[in-house]
């Protein structure tokens, strides 16, 4: 009999959109109609914009309903489950028919997210059913060199942002002679707007664990630590569950997988939310119970890492790729991508974009493909102005450079960085000075405070940006900004400081005229900087309805019924209440 399987996406994003309610309703329905289908949980498949998602699978059909509201769900129950009729207007994806999001799914190539939104992450068997823990068995009798060579061949590079070849990193740690070695998984995803690692941890925890174990085998480590930020409670919960399950199957512990002498234990360390702890030396300090402050490299963690022992650190996405590479073979993975950047990369596309969610594409794909073809271009049909890559450490790529391909070097050439995969889309309503200020506010408050330039220099930059957005900037401020930015980059110990000025530098590079407009014309072209927005009554259009006058909190509007109103600029606090209230478009905002 063809069993109907119904899966509800219960990632953090899905739950936030109401997926739990959907699941509960289906559960109740199922109790009333036992055996009508099999109800399962899964995680985010990446289409965050269309949550809650309900996957329907059977032999005939494989489709996804999207934006399943309570009302829509009843309709689906009535039509689909009761009568077998597909509710066409709710289908976002179907493998048989045209559906609005077919392209979104089909344009992607899933390695890292191969199991996300497919399996139930809380059930180890589901992972194993899809080839899970087979990679470790495949390398059971491999030597360290063999494993590392395979990774080297795959061309996998650090997905956390640095892009350092993973194989070489492992090689460095493997050649250290020491009885004690560590493998650390950096799950301290801190970039504003980035959630790739969270989704992977929530959706495929065993994939990450298997990757870590393989790394452990490759470098000769016996202990692993996953450093995960405490702000990811669901991820931590699922990781803990996964570790328990793995231990129960002797996938963790002593002589694991029956491999004589292969001991490997895995722990979770919850980070307290300091962004700088994503920097590997600060991360290690934090695990050791010290203040999260970076140290000078060399010595590299591979030589002297956790507690002074050789340590390999990679991030979540890097590790989750490893079992897939081993299983499929390095060549298959390396077939994707460009000469220097192999495989795929997951991006969290957010901001002013039609479809925001997770997208995994092969390296070498033009950014424009991700933005326009997969994610549908600007939100509400607005013109895209720029895409910010790499979060607070990255930079903006202006719309005319969006054909740049996803490749470490190609992106760096634009002044941005690949980063860990945050892709924030900006349109004409985004003020680029404000964007720079936003990211710098973040880095400034997240600086560990150690290095002079990062601690004080970024504050001074921020103060300048603040002045500019308030209309108090002078043209010399731009030189001062650039001067500070260059020196901070040149004189900081860790990546945080070295990259903190990037958002400012890249916006200055591509959007200098916006800065100048703020300074010279005292105007914010995107109409975002409150202090620089002006409101005036358009005399021709004003009908004297007094709506604006009544809405004004500071009584800055003069006027009587049926007479043209007037805004006294000196009393206006630029709150925009008049603009919003006016029904005759008689308020000019500029």
């Amino acid at each position: 009999m063809d069993k109907l399987i119904v899966k509800v996406g219960l990632g953090s994003c899905g739950i936030a959109a109401g997926a739990q309610k959907v699941y509960n309703r289906l559960d109740t329905y199922l109790k009333e109609n036992p055996g009508r289908f099999i109800l399962e949980k899964t995680n985010c498949i990446g289409m965050c914009y269309a949550e809650p998602l309900v996957h329907i699978e059977n032999k005939k059909n494989n489709l996804i309903y999207g934006r399943v509201s309570e009302l829509k769900l009843e309709e689906i129950i009535q039509n689909h489950f009761e009568k077998g009729h597909i509710v066409e207007d709710a289908v976002v994806y179907s493998d048989k028919h045209e559906a609005p999001e077919n392209q979104y799914i089909q344009s992607q190539v899933k390695w890292a997210m191969r199991n996300c939104g497919i399996i139930n992450p809380e059930i180890i068997d589901e992972y194993e059913a899809r080839g899970g823990y087979q990679a470790i068995l495949k390398v059971k009798n491999w030597t360290s060199d063999q494993i590392i060579n395979e990774i080297l061949k795959s061309g996998l590079r650090g997905r956390g942002g640095g892009g350092f070849p993973t194989g070489i990193k492992w090689q460095l740690a493997a050649k250290q002679v020491n009885d004690t070695k560590y493998v650390v998984c950096n799950a301290d995803e801190g970039d504003p707007g980035a959630f790739m690692d969270r989704s992977i941890l929530e959706g495929d925890p065993h994939g990450v664990i298997e990757g870590i174990i393989i790394a452990g085998k490759a470098i000769g480590a016996t202990h692993g630590v996953i450093y995960c930020r405490a702000e990811y409670p669901l991820a931590i919960k699922r990781l803990k569950l996964a570790i328990e399950q793995a231990k129960a199957k002797n996938y963790l512990g002593t002589n694991i997988f029956g491999i004589e002498g292969f001991d490997f234990d895995l722990y979770i360390k919850e980070g307290a939310g300091a962004f700088v702890c994503g920097e590997e030396t600060a991360l290690l300090a934090s695990i050791e119970g010290k203040r999260g402050m970076p140290n000078k490299r060399p010595p590299f963690p591979a030589e002297k890492g956790l507690w002074g022992f050789p340590t390999n650190i990679n991030n979540v996405e890097t590790y989750v790729n490893v079992p897939a590479i081993i299983l499929a073979g390095a060549e298959k993975y390396a077939a994707f991508g460009t000469e220097k950047a192999k495989g795929t990369k997951v991006f969290a596309v957010t901001g002013k974009i039609a479809k925001s969610g997770l997208v995994e594409v092969p390296m070498g794909t033009p950014i424009s493909t991700v933005i326009y073809d997969i994610c549908g271009g600007g939100a509400n049909g607005k013109q895209i102005k720029a895409v910010q890559l790499g979060g607070p450490s990255g930079g903006c790529i202006p719309s005319h450079l969006l054909d740049t391909i996803i490749d470490y070097d190609a992106i760096i050439a634009t002044g941005a960085i690949m980063g860990s995969g945050g892709m924030v889309v900006m349109d004409e309503t985004t003020c680029m000075v404000d964007v720079a200020k936003f990211f710098l506010t973040f880095t400034q408050s997240e600086s560990c405070g150690k290095c002079t330039f990062c601690r004080v220099g970024t504050l001074r930059m921020l103060e300048i940006l603040d002045r500019i957005t308030k209309g108090q900037g002078v043209i010399e401020d731009l030189d001062l900004l650039e001067d500070l930015a260059i020196e901070i980059k040149n004189n900081s110990l860790c990546g945080l400081g070295q990259s903190a000025p990037n958002p400012v530098l890249s916006t200055l590079k591509y959007f200098r005229e916006e800065y100048e407009a703020h300074i010279i014309q005292k105007r914010c072209p995107a109409l975002q900087c409150t202090e620089l927005i002006h409101y005036e009554v358009i005399a021709d259009k004003c009908i004297g309805c007094t709506l604006c006058k009544r809405a004004c909190p500071t009584h800055a509007i003069d006027g009587e019924v049926k007479k043209i109103h007037f805004i006294r600029q000196e009393d206006c606090i630029r709150c925009g209440a008049c603009f919003t209230k006016c029904k005759s478009d008689a308020i000019l905002r500029y």
Binding site: A274, V276, R291, M293, N295, K296, P298, G308, Q444, S445, E446, S447, C448, G449, K450, C451, T452, F453, R455, V456, G457, T458, L459, R460, E463, D483, L484, E487, K489, N490, N491, S492, L493, Q498
Partner: protein, 1199 residues
Amino acid sequence: MSELINIKLNGTKLKVSPGETILNICLEQGYDIPHLCHDPKLKPFSSCFVCVVEIKGFKAHQPSCSTIVQEGMEIFTDTPEVRKSRKMALELMLSNHYADCLAPCTQTCPAGVDIQGYLSLTEKGLFQQAVELIKETNPLPAICGRVCVRPCEDKCRRQYTEDGVPVGIDYLKRFVSDFDLVSESPVTPKVKESTGKKVAIIGSGPAGLTAAYYLQIEGVQADIYEKAEGVGGWLRYGIPEYRLPNAIVDQEVANITKLGVQIFTNQELGGNLQYETLDQNYDAVFLSIGAQNGDLLGIGEKPAPNLISGIDFLKNNALTNNDTDLSGKRVVVVGGGNTAMDCCRSARRCGSDDVIVLYRRTEADMPANPIEIHESKLEGVQYIFLAAPVDVYYDEQGNLTGLKCIKMKAEKVPGSRRSNIVPIEGSEFDLPCDLVLPATGQKIQYEVLDHINQNYPDQDLQLNKWKTLDADESTMQMNIPKIFAAGDAVTGPTNIIQAIAGGKKAAQYLTAFVLELPFEIPKKPFISTKDSFTKQTKDLYLNKFEYHPKNEMPVLDAQKRANFKEVELGYQSVEEVQSEVARCLECGCVAFYDCDLQKYSTEYEAVQTHYKGDYQVFERTTAHEKLELDNHKCILCGRCVRVCKEYSGNRVWEFFKRGSKTYISVNMEYDLAASRCDACGLCIDTCPTGALTENFSFKILPAPYKKLPVIDPFGSEGFEADLLDYKGNIYGATARTGIVNHKGLINRDLFFNYPIFNKSNRIKTPMERVNGKLVPITIQQALEKIKKAVRQVDNADNVLLVSPEMTNEAMYMVQKWARVGLQTNSIGSPYLMNRTKASNLDKNDILPLQELEGTRQIFVLGGDLPQDHPVISHLIQNHRYFNKSEITFITTEQNHPYSFRTDHTLKIADSYYFIKAVCHYLVHTEKMFGIFVNGLAKEWTPYRDAIIKYDYAQLLNKAGVEASVIENFAQILIDIPETAFILSEKNTDEKTMTELKNLMLLTEKQGKTFSGMVVLKPACNTQGLFDMGIYPDYGPGFRKMEGSYLELLKNHWHTSRLSTNFSCPGDALQKESPKNLFIFGLNVIHDTPELNDMIKKSSFICVQSLFENETTQIADLVLPMNFAVEIGGSFTSSFKVAQTFQAVKKSKIDWNDYQFYAQLHQSFDIQSPKHYSEIFLEMISLLQPSCCSDNRHCFIINN
């Protein structure tokens, strides 16, 4: 050793050791790379980023302090880019450095007088040192103390507190200067040898006198030519006597002429003195001619006999000895400055009952000193404000009969401080009067300049736009190179302190000019100031300081002022002075002269306001008795955090918050006073700025201290240190890295207890007790008294007790005197009580300090190491921090705080039985190192037999531990060869120590590298007591007084007889016969009360002591004594390392121990040297030829 690697440093090829940091190599190579967060004894941190360098192939700059050199590295340390980065790093730090380098008073003073400095010295009663300090920048303090306009007080922060008025800086200056003027030997600077150069000075006003003073000090003959009959210029002829008595001027001038300055009066340049003559006879000319032409009303008035410029009036009055008679006359003084005040108050004193000051602005606008205005009103002077003369009435004789005045009104000018004054139309009024004294301005006498110019056909002396002399601002040189100028002639009429500043500056460059040296204009020192951040106002200071009203200046009663007697009387008591000094808020930073941030900021010409923005404001942490933290000055280098972690082990300091909000505070944010901090002082010592300082019990004295190298006189580890000296007093101590102190650590006792060197109650002369009181006597008399006492008792009844804080040389001399002079061997020290010779460990049995870092296991046996021997505790902690060694603390105390800093704590009941139990266990189970004990150790068999007899269970019981503890402990000793025991002699009895020595033999820990025991002695030279023979039957070198050694001594000491009665001091004192007790440097009555009865039985007690104390109170004869640092010598450390040191500190008393001992020897017919180096040579020849003593490798049976 690993092979050297090749690098290129600033283009030079070098071979360097791998693993070295770039900074270390650069410093070695002499490249002065600035660095703030780096301390060589700490793990590299790299936070300040001022040490950055450029490395070829690296995109970014690298911090040199943590970058390890690599083969082929090309490093550049001084490129413009690197300099730019360093400067920005400094400026960014400074933009959050809401703190003052210098006190605002000092910053404001035109002459830069170190006000905070002399106030601090005044607080300490060092009045003449205060004057010395003032005279470094101002040679006329008694004059300035009376009539300075006190710009310093305007800026004094005290005025923002509840008291509302500044510190009476000038009053205090006057007090110390007057104290000095009447003292027996007023402060006189050292005059350098004559250079043969000469400078002519025109005018004897403050600028001229000042220039002369500093020129003469530099060895340049200064000749002053004065037009008038009297000396002083404006000081004598401008300022009335009731403010500045001529006698004071004469005294200060005398202090200048005393240096060799010549003053020729009645010499008018252009009159009876020709410039040509000066030009021929002098190497340079200094014009300090003042601005002597007083302005009149300037309203087109005709001259009149009763219209006299204010300054002419004052001058005439001074010339006639205040003989002007103005009784019955109405006098109108026009103007509102200090000259106007001098005029009106003088006019009152000349008999006028009707003196009116006419001023065109308001009272608040008056430039005159408010005190002057106040006093003038008290004296009956009337004021008409907001009015100005517009015309003058004359009688037929051409005398002025009155003024026509007009009323004025003030109009606010937006953006301007002062309002605009405009006449009120039609408000004219008449002011009849008999004498008008305009005091509105002065000009220089251009005739003099014309006269000089005649000698220079090609050019004239250049004037500036104010028509005063256009001297170069930095050097005071004129356009004619050999002519310099300063004072009012350059600045226009201003004040004395400006003139002094100009005179001083001119002297500096005149000296360079006449000696044909290049003009070196120093870099302006960087000065951080709170004013760079925000205007200092009341709201920042209220409720922060104790209310302490100003001590007002006592003045002559207003009724008694109808004369020219001085009105201000000066402070009358030291109490008043100290109460006023106490009001000083000590704004300047104590670390100013030692601050690396300041030093580099000056070097890199950093500007504090370059990156102005938000800054952090904190409360100062002052609750701790010893430490104080001012976060404003903190640059977050983390040196305190790290030194506390890496050396103290207490982890008191930690970083808090993130980003620009980061700050340093007490770990877990407990109150510092309640924290684990045990005030070791390391954090203060390492702080590169003034953020962490001592919590001083006195007013801080920021000064360029002289570093006096010493060997720690408070600890027995022989650690090198520096005392911080200023004019003979000690204001602190700091670590000095040396052979022993290779990490640069300092002992807490020295760090905080240095004030003992400044204590004032030193014994200054020998004193004998007469009728129960000590009275001074001469040295000869003292020697006679000693001889007399010695004659009265049997030889053996002379008993000597010696302090372990004396130098080896002093001990040796005392011992030699005892044995040769007194024929007694009853010599000892309370520190050796209950100690036999077994306590004198062989040097080979002591773990050398350097080997401590090779140990893997350290046992600290009892005591309180961090308290009693902090430097050793620090070294051990550091060793532990880097995971090289485990520390186990064996203690009998419950919850000892030291346990927090060790890996394990072993709680036992008794350490002797504990060790004994271990020994028993090892012998019983035959786990000892059999080959060694059988083959090499002496007394093995009897020891084995003795120890085996003990009942193990009983031993365990007494040790208070389980058998397993003993067994585990023994196993560690067997398993880990690199094991050390650290114990403090103070807390360890001899039995425990010797039993431990047995244990060392059993486990072969003695004499082996990285293992053995360290017995830390209580006082700096406790070991010297043994080595110098402060022991009845053992002589110098700790050799038994018998056989050939006895002969050697006789030969060496040129004596035929030495007593072989070796009774110990205790036994001798117990005897009933009359006894002489000689106590050297010990306060036995206080320190060893158990000996008191015994001591008091002595018939004659002679005490040598630094201070009067309980023991000197019972003495019949008291002798002065030196601190070791005053006489030099050597100490022997706990590690048996003898270290010599020089006499670095001048003795405050006229006394030298060595000379006295030599005299003492002489009076007993002993030939002895009197310099410590000669004593050392004599003493050293008596020491053991080899290190091996007879008790090496010998078991000791304890019962």
